[in-house]
């Protein structure tokens, strides 16, 4: 080891060591000369013989260097320097090549960064592979109301399970609640808080930054009001005050004692509710929640010996027993569907991410093909130079090494650019929350990403340098000296390689274009979905009537708020709902009154709304009437949506029919159009609307319908609200469009990325075609000149040159189309109402590719047709 270090030092100290040797050799010669003189020779002769005896100093130097240093390293460094010089001299080529490489490698780094953070890395909890998610539904069910479990079931599992060391839960319906943070002299801030069991943080293994988790009293009925705050809230609102724990903060007018602060790298929303920022954890009082129905999302930690399968089996058995033993569970949907927590968190995005990764790898292949072609072309023009080097003594291995070093240097430049671009892109994506994805916050360029990038670099460098290196290996360099420097046309193998590479590029570009085209069409279909409500010119903000309003006063508060808003000029309408579309929901059971056993009961999404809701939201009333203020008192009434009405009363109009809710009988007074509540790509399901004021709801969303841009009204509305009650937060005032945006955000993201990659592929493939034809034309300039001189029509020449290119394009298109069909099964799950083999898309993308390639081939072919025969024949270079 030490010896190696000494050698390394010798490499670095090349010049001083060379000087020392020269001094030694000089001394050697001098001393030998003196001895010769002493032996009687003439001075000149003495010196001459001395020099002869010592030999060629250059040889001595070389041997010395080889002996003392690391010859391989030195020649590598030499090659690097040389490569750098050649590349910087040839600016045009280098710029193009580095740009292409940069884009390809950058794109790969971005996608790998996403895949790594979202899928490959384990969840940020203790021993995350032991954690499972237990939901109350068939796999694939999406109604959160049907996926949450009852307290009874939860406790049953907890008691009986041996496979699970412990279970914890939170309430997933927190999204419609708003906690107004007031009382510290700053603007009231609307926060999201989620109810959790006392062992939630402990089960996940999340260490608190400060304080502790909830105590048993705090999760008991009438226990002390406690709260745990997020790291973000602690740093931004409370300036990282270490004394926050133990202090009380005012939420919805009620003082809650802060008992803990979460660590920086725990983000509840990131793992369990992407798209929402959760700042508060509140105690989930199971006794209270027991009466609320299906309100728990359950997480469990398996014992070391348990498996997901064994856990699932056991829980299913326990659930069956529970259903038999506990009559309260009759009529309720009770399942125990157990999956690894990781699957729950990133399941929805896995398919899309794998697809994206596949696509970006294809882009990289195209990049490599393109560059390999460029390098091959370049190597031809440098044949003389290599030949000279070979003549000066460079062996085949050395030349190959040099070629590969050059491709490595080029790739390194490209990687530098690419990683820079990727870093910027990822920062942009994460900081602007451009897309709703789970675990997005932890996307970054870290060690594993860089390692993969490094491996990719080596691979790419090898691939693109392989062509020229193999050329050298075959020819050995010297042969080129003898040829005319016009270069040979007849090098079949090279010609076929180049053509093959271009065909591959076109095929891959075709596949990518089709994939992107399908996603774009799909997205278009989604956007055209009939939402059922009108998001334009409407905005919302959340309101919570804090404890300062006594129960009797809440109704009055509702009325005052509505009146205040409606009185503003520029506001066409205002209304409330406890749940906005595409923003969380819950459902209750509903049945006809003449169906006492509930055999035909349905589960309907519930909206507690104020009067004027349908008009404000632009929801069509199909039969009957809207809800009015009078409905607050008097008989209970309900408005159903079309689906609910048709399901329960398929034979007639349900107006004035009687239905039963858990709360008692109610009368149907209206039917409205279906609204997409869960997601744009899901059918609406049954919905029912009840008067909000009947239920004394304190937490709701307020919607205003404005004349013009709702953002322009923000100031006015804020002023009016403040006058009414300054403690109502207003910071979350947002146009309703954002609901739609959030619902389609991940779809839009993947579509844009894939479209971008397809665009890159198209450009690269056309460059490929352009290059190939251009090169072939250049090589055959003399021949074309002769033909033109002999009278061939330029049009004919043009046609012929183009035909060469179009044959390649045709082959590529054919392969690409077939490839796309074969790959279509992978993309099917991402599409909405578009077949994976949609002929229109295939034809369209094929046509685009063909047209672009046609143009790319036309330009150099035209040049060929325009060749001046005289100059072509004259220049013999």
């Amino acid at each position: 080891m030490k010896r190696w270090l000494r050698k390394l030092v010798a490499v670095l100290r090349k010049r001083p060591l060379d000087d020392e040797l020269r001094e030694e050799l000089d001394a050697h010669i001098d001393m030998l000369t003196e001895d010769n003189l002493a032996a009687g020779m003439e001075p000149d002769e003495a010196r001459r013989r001395a020099r002869l005896a010592v030999g060629n100093p250059a040889v001595a130097q070389e041997l010395h260097r080889d002996a003392r240093g690391l010859p391989t390293l030195e020649s590598f460094l030499q090659d690097l320097r040389y490569a750098y010089r050649t590349l910087t001299r040839d600016w045009g080529f280098t710029l193009v090549a580095v740009s292409i490489l940069g884009l390809g490698i950058g794109a790969n780094t971005v996608v790998y960064g996403l895949v790594d953070a979202l899928i490959l890395q384990p969840l940020p909890f203790a021993e995350p592979d032991r954690l499972v998610w237990i939901s109350n539904g068939e796999p694939g069910a999406t109604n959160p109301s049907l996926l949450a479990s009852r307290v009874l079931t939860f406790e049953g599992w907890r008691e009986a399970s041996t496979q699970l060391a412990d279970l914890a839960a939170f309430s997933p319906f927190f999204t419609r609640d708003s906690w107004a943070l007031t009382g510290d002299g700053r603007d009231p801030e609307p926060l999201k808080g989620v109810l959790v069991t006392d062992n939630f943080l402990g089960l996940l293994g999340v260490p608190l930054e400060l304080g502790r988790s909830f105590s048993t009293q705090e999760v008991s009925v009438d226990g002390p009001a406690a709260v745990i705050v997020s790291h973000r809230l602690w740093t931004q609102r409370f300036e990282s005050d270490p004394a926050l724990v133990g202090r009380a903060i005012e939420l919805n007018d009620v003082p809650y004692t802060v008992v803990g602060v979460l660590p920086r790298d725990f983000d509840f929303g990131s793992a369990f509710a992407p798209g929402y920022r959760v700042d508060l954890l509140l105690p989930g009082i199971l006794e209270q929640m027991a009466g609320w129905g299906n309100t728990l999302s359950v997480v469990g930690r398996m014992t070391p010996e348990a498996t997901v399968a064994s856990t699932r089996q056991e829980l299913e058995a326990i659930t069956t027993n529970l259903k038999q033993e506990r009559p309260e569970l009759d009529g309720w949907v009770v399942f125990a569907n157990t999956i690894p927590l990781q699957e729950q968190v990133n399941g929805p995005v896995r398919g899309a991410l794998w697809l994206l990764w596949g696509a970006v790898i294809l882009v990289l292949v195209i990049v490599c093909a393109n560059l390999a072609n460029l390098m091959l072309v370049r190597s031809v023009s440098r044949r003389r130079e290599l030949a000279v080097r070979a003549a000066l003594g460079a062996g085949r291995t050395r030349l190959m090494r040099q070629v590969l070093t050059e491709s490595l240097t080029l790739t390194l430049f490209g990687v530098a650019v690419g990683v820079g671009l990727a870093w910027a892109a990822l920062r942009l994506i994460v900081s602007r929350q451009a897309v709703v994805l789970p675990m997005l916050e932890r996307v970054r360029i870290d060690g594993s990403v860089l390692t993969v990038t490094a491996a990719t670099t080596l691979l790419v460098a090898l691939v693109i340098g392989a062509g020229p290196a193999l050329q050298v290996a075959r020819r050995g360099g010297l042969a080129a000296l003898g040829q005319s420097s016009r270069g040979t046309v007849g090098d079949r193998a090279e010609h076929w390689t180049r053509s093959g590479l271009v065909v591959a590029e076109i095929a891959l570009a075709c596949t990518l274009l089709i994939g992107a085209g399908l996603l774009v069409r799909s997205f278009g279909q989604i956007l055209e979905v009939e939402l059922g409500f009108e998001p334009g010119r409407r905005a919302s903000f959340q309101v919570s009537a804090g404890a300062r309003y006594a129960d009797e006063e809440v109704g009055r508060f509702h009325l005052d708020l509505l009146d205040t808003l409606r009185s503003l000029s520029g506001v066409e309408g205002a209304a409330f709902s406890d749940n906005l579309p595409l923003d969380g929901n819950r459902s209750w059971g509903l049945r006809r009154s003449d169906d006492p056993d509930g055999e035909d009961s349905i589960s309907a999404y519930v909206r507690l709304v104020s009067d004027g809701y349908f008009e404000t939201m632009g929801i069509d009333v199909l039969a009957g009437r809207e809800l009015t203020r009078d409905d607050t008192d008097g008989d209970p009434v309900v408005v159903l949506n079309e689906t609910a009405a048709r399901t329960l009363w398929p034979e007639r109009d349900p107006i004035n029919e009687s239905a039963e809710l858990y709360a008692g009988p109610t009368r149907v007074v209206g039917v409205v159009a279906d609204v997409r509540h869960n997601g744009l790509d899901e059918e609406s399901g049954a919905e029912m609307y009840l008067p909000i004021s009947r239920f004394g709801v304190r937490n709701f969303s307020t919607v205003v319908h404005t004349d013009g841009d709702p953002r322009a009204m923000a100031g006015q509305i804020r002023g009016a609200i403040r006058e009414l009650d300054p403690r109502i937060p207003f910071n979350d005032y947002r146009p309703l469009d954002h609901l739609v945006d959030r619902a389609v955000s991940s779809r839009r993201f993947f579509m844009s990325m894939l479209a971008g990659f397809a665009g890159m592929a198209l450009v690269l493939a056309s460059l490929g075609i352009y290059g190939v034809i251009s090169y072939s034309v250049g090589q055959r300039r003399a021949e074309i000149g002769v033909r033109l001189a002999l009278g061939a029509r330029p049009g004919r020449v043009l046609g012929e040159e183009m035909r060469r290119g179009m044959v390649l394009v045709g082959a590529g298109l054919a392969i690409g189309l077939i490839g796309a069909v074969l790959a279509s099964r992978f993309i099917g799950s991402q599409l909405y109402q578009v077949a994976a083999t949609d002929p229109a898309t295939y034809a369209g993308m094929g046509a685009i590719l063909f047209a672009v390639a046609l143009l790319a081939g036309y330009l150099p072919a035209r040049r060929a047709a325009r060749t001046n025969p005289v100059s072509a024949l004259r220049s013999d270079t």
Binding site: A10, E20, L25, A27, H28, V59, A67
Partner: protein, 114 residues
């Protein structure tokens, strides 16, 4: 004069070590001169190449080097054998004798002629 003998690789190292062991610290020229003398000019030695051997021996730790002044006031680099070098010398010498014995028992006895 008969043809000079090409030295087998590695044997030059042995000669150098032996020379330094016998003569004590020497500069490059001194070592080359000694080798020529002892071998009665039977060894083909491109004198300049001795420095490659010397630097290798130095890196391996068998010899040390130091700049000094020669007899006639020349600045020259003097090489000296280390204790490790002496051990190596003993080992190598023994190995050579053993080898020579084995080879000799195979070859026909030669006439002593020059």
């Amino acid at each position: 004069m008969t043809d000079k003998i090409d030295l087998l690789p590695g044997t030059l190292d042995l000669l150098v070590l032996r020379t330094l062991h016998t003569l004590g610290p020497q500069h490059g020229y001194g070592i080359a001169r000694r080798i020529e003398q002892v071998s009665e000019r039977r060894v083909l030695l491109n004198q300049g190449t001795i420095y490659a051997s010397l630097v290798r021996l130095q890196q391996d730790g068998w010899i040390d080097a130091e700049w000094g002044v020669s007899d006639n006031n020349r600045r020259a680099k003097f090489y000296s054998i280390t204790s490790k070098g002496r051990q190596k010398l003993t080992r190598e010498s023994e190995a050579w004798w053993r080898l020579a014995d084995v080879i000799e028992s195979f070859l026909e006895p030669r006439e002593t002629d020059r």
